[in-house]
Amino acid sequence: MSWKSYFSTSVGKKLQMSLTGIFLITFLVVHAYINAQIFWNDGGEEFGHLAHFMGTNPVIRTIEIGLFAFLLLHVIQGLVLWARNVGSRKSRYAVSKRNETSRWYSRSMGLLGTLILLFLILHISMFWAPNRASQTIGNGELDLYGMMRDEFQNPVIVVIYVLGCISLAWHLVHGFYSAFQTLGLTTNRYKGAIKAVGVGFSIIVPLIFALMPIAFYLQWIQ
């Protein structure tokens, strides 16, 4: 069986979700680490160094293209699988006690993913897109730290960011474990550890992200 035919079955599509998901998880770690430099409260100096490196290094810029490609694949395959799965039961149960056998977030990955995507569109259009546009037309990099400080004075933006982080947290609680289950790594020996690390990751990383707009809004950092 060829790899093309491998990836075309429901299990193969799920593996694409898993691999792209793990790539996006590693991206989150890098993104959270760099942005957390703002908590030094040094006027954005340390953050500025790393942001400059990420914005100009050719290797990182190449990986960035991969990031968008994988994000797109994750979204498209997610929608394809969602449509198939929803369509596989045309006549619905009159009574269904689903909460007794599964968790709401594991059944709501499509919804949570859509919320994250909507948040990402806003987020990218606020920081990444204007910065790259400025670089492309030769005006150089923008002062991302200053932009964060200004944008996060708006309480509406802060609330949207926190809601985006909450959607991400629930998406990750299922997504982290699920990615490893799909790779076949959740044997009885490792299942507990993978689930525990997944829950920890799902709390810590979105919390670091959520603290950024909150910290600027409450002027913990200047």
Binding site: L15, G87, Y93
Partner: protein
């Protein structure tokens, strides 16, 4: 436990055939013993219906001791009712009290079309088995059962997977109507044994392909199947199926090679 009697209201799905739209009918049953099984309660209802000159309710059943996988029913929002590791025939009326209303539906999935009332067509499972859930054995004298030594751990795991009775509760419970737990149990119990080795690379790919072709949804690792399985088939089998599928592709095997 104290023995008692109860009167119940049943809302049961009635559907003439595959093409009928179907609807709920309400029935009253009286003087049901707490020691009856759920299916015996249905026997009482059907006898009552026959006595009244009405058509009885069609439902699947066979061994009535929880091992054949024939009975189904989605009872008050749960496949095989509310009890853990239990088929409908082993669900007993002591679960209910006088005056309760019970809603009974068929297992619902596109791949399980309703034949009549609560009876659904589960032959999709047979076709998944036909696609690869077998081993090749040459004819001749029966081989001594203990001729091939098998690792104790693998033997136990294979046996646990082979406990799948193919009832379809995993499909009924799955929000995606996926049959991945069933398929993974059938892949697992053969993949773990030396007898399953000759078809190992073709089996998993062919069975997954047939699973998809039957119109079951994909697995999204929700775990409702494992929670609802009357035989306690573990999600670890799905992890194994995923590994087997990857390994099979590396080795490049499938009888329907494309």
């Amino acid at each position: 436990m104290e023995h008692y009697h109860m009167n119940l209201t049943l809302k049961v799905w009635k559907q003439k055939n595959k093409n009928d739209k179907g609807r709920f009918e309400t029935y009253e049953v009286k003087n049901i013993s707490s020691e009856m099984s759920f299916l015996e309660m249905f026997d009482v209802l059907n006898e009552q219906l026959i006595a009244e000159g009405k058509e009885p309710i069609a439902f699947d059943h066979d061994c009535r001791e929880g091992i054949c996988g024939a009975c189904s029913m989605y009872i008050n929002g749960r496949a095989h009712g509310p009890w853990h590791h239990t088929t409908t025939c082993q669900l007993h009326m002591r679960e209910y009290k006088d005056g309760d209303t019970i809603v009974v539906e068929p297992f619902r999935a596109n791949a399980f079309p309703v034949i009549k009332d609560l009876v659904v067509d589960r032959t999709a499972f047979d076709r998944i088995i036909q696609a690869g859930g077998y081993i090749s054995v040459n004819t001749g004298n029966a081989v001594d059962a203990n001729a091939i030594p098998i690792d104790k751990h693998n033997a136990d795991e294979a046996f646990a997977a082979a406990a799948c009775i193919g009832c379809g509760a995993c499909v009924a419970a799955c929000p995606n109507a996926s049959a991945m737990l069933f398929t993974s149990a059938k892949v697992s119990h053969l993949a773990l044994l030396p007898q399953g080795e000759p078809e190992r690379t073709t089996r998993v790919a062919d069975m997954i392909r047939q699973h998809d072709k039957e119109g079951f949804g994909g697995c999204t690792n929700i775990g409702a199947c494992e929670a609802e399985c009357p035989k306690g088939i573990s999600l670890e089998n799905i992890a194994r199926l995923n590994r087997e599928y990857m390994a099979a592709t590396f080795r490049g095997g499938s009888k329907n090679s494309i």
